[in-house]
């Protein structure tokens, strides 16, 4: 029991620290390392929720592929040592106030919705389906999504190439 509490709170500190690190560390490569730490620590949190496949999936997809992609991109554009730049202080104060307000409103919503009766957010999905769910049947549309994303990325790439080439020529 005590080990669970210690595990949860230490993971909370690591997760929040890494998340704050992504936006506040002075150099860009540190932000990528923070992102990696965040992904790994949230994976450990999923393990405590008995979701080992999800933890593994997140580690492979985000921890290995996404972080290395960002790292390679930064290296390619020579921005690994890019310094931290924030918006001006007035905007920071205004954003903080807005975020605080948003946080308070969300806490009030949680309190109203979950204080007396706890309901499942999955009810709207499963109420008309059968009791047994075949994972492969539900995962099938993922192929369509991936196909759609690849087609969109190709179109975007063609569009951006034709848009950016004239600008470079203008500079010359």
């Amino acid at each position: 029991m005590e080990s669970n509490i210690f595990y949860f709170y230490s993971l909370c500190v690591i997760i929040l620290g890494s998340a704050a690190g992504i936006i506040l560390v002075p150099r860009m490569y540190m932000a990528v390392i923070s992102l990696f730490c965040l992904i790994c620590s949230s994976g450990f949190l999923y393990l405590s929720l008995n979701a080992k496949y999800m933890a593994l999936f997140q580690f492979i997809l985000c921890g290995i592929f996404l972080c290395s992609y960002i790292f390679i991109l930064l290296k390619k554009i020579n921005r690994l040592n890019l310094k931290l730049k924030l918006v001006n202080p007035i905007k920071i104060i205004a954003s903080s106030c807005w975020i605080l307000l948003f946080g308070i409103l969300t806490c009030l919503f949680f309190n109203e919705e979950f204080n007396n009766s706890l309901y499942s957010i999955f009810n709207f999905i499963i109420e008309k389906s059968s009791d047994t769910i075949n994972f492969m049947e539900h995962i099938f549309p993922l192929h369509l999504v991936i196909l759609l994303v690849i087609v969109t990325s190709i179109i975007l790439r063609i569009f951006l190439t034709t848009q950016t080439v004239p600008r470079n020529e203008e500079k010359k």
């Binding site: 669970n4 949860f8 909370c12 997760i15 929040l16 998340a19 704050a20 992504i22 936006i23 860009m28 932000a31 992102l35 965040l38 999923y46 008995n50 979701a51 999800m54 999936f57 997140q58 997809l61 996404l66 992609y69 960002i70 991109l73 930064l74 390619k76 554009i77 921005r79 890019l82 730049k85 924030l86 918006v87 920071i92 954003s95 975020i99 946080g103 969300t106 949680f110 979950f114 706890l118 499942s120 957010i121 999955f122 999905i125 499963i126 994972f135 539900h138 995962i139 993922l142 999504v145 991936i146 994303v149 969109t152 990325s153 975007l156 790439r157 951006l160 950016t164 600008r167 470079n168």
Partner: protein, 107 residues
Amino acid sequence: MDFMLNIGLMHYLILSLLLFLIGLAGVLISRNMLRTVMSMFIITISVVLNFMVFGHYCDNTMENANIISVFVLTISVVQTIIALVILYKIYQANEYLDAEKIKDKEN
């Protein structure tokens, strides 16, 4: 004191909310667009955490949570990579990734 010691749904929801707010703060206060993209990914992780927690505490099988989380995470990673490709193209055109400089240039 009991609330602190008995780890339950509310603890995870508070963690998820804090993570979401940090991500939102990153989107709002960062001038570097790469950091903005990474902050958006923090928001996604908080959303996925929410799904997993609701799956664990409200749904016995965890299947729905896993399915939705896999979808959300995959789409989010692909969207992040597309955003990074767009940023790379912007960098090639302008040679900087500062949102305010790009906005000034557009004006």
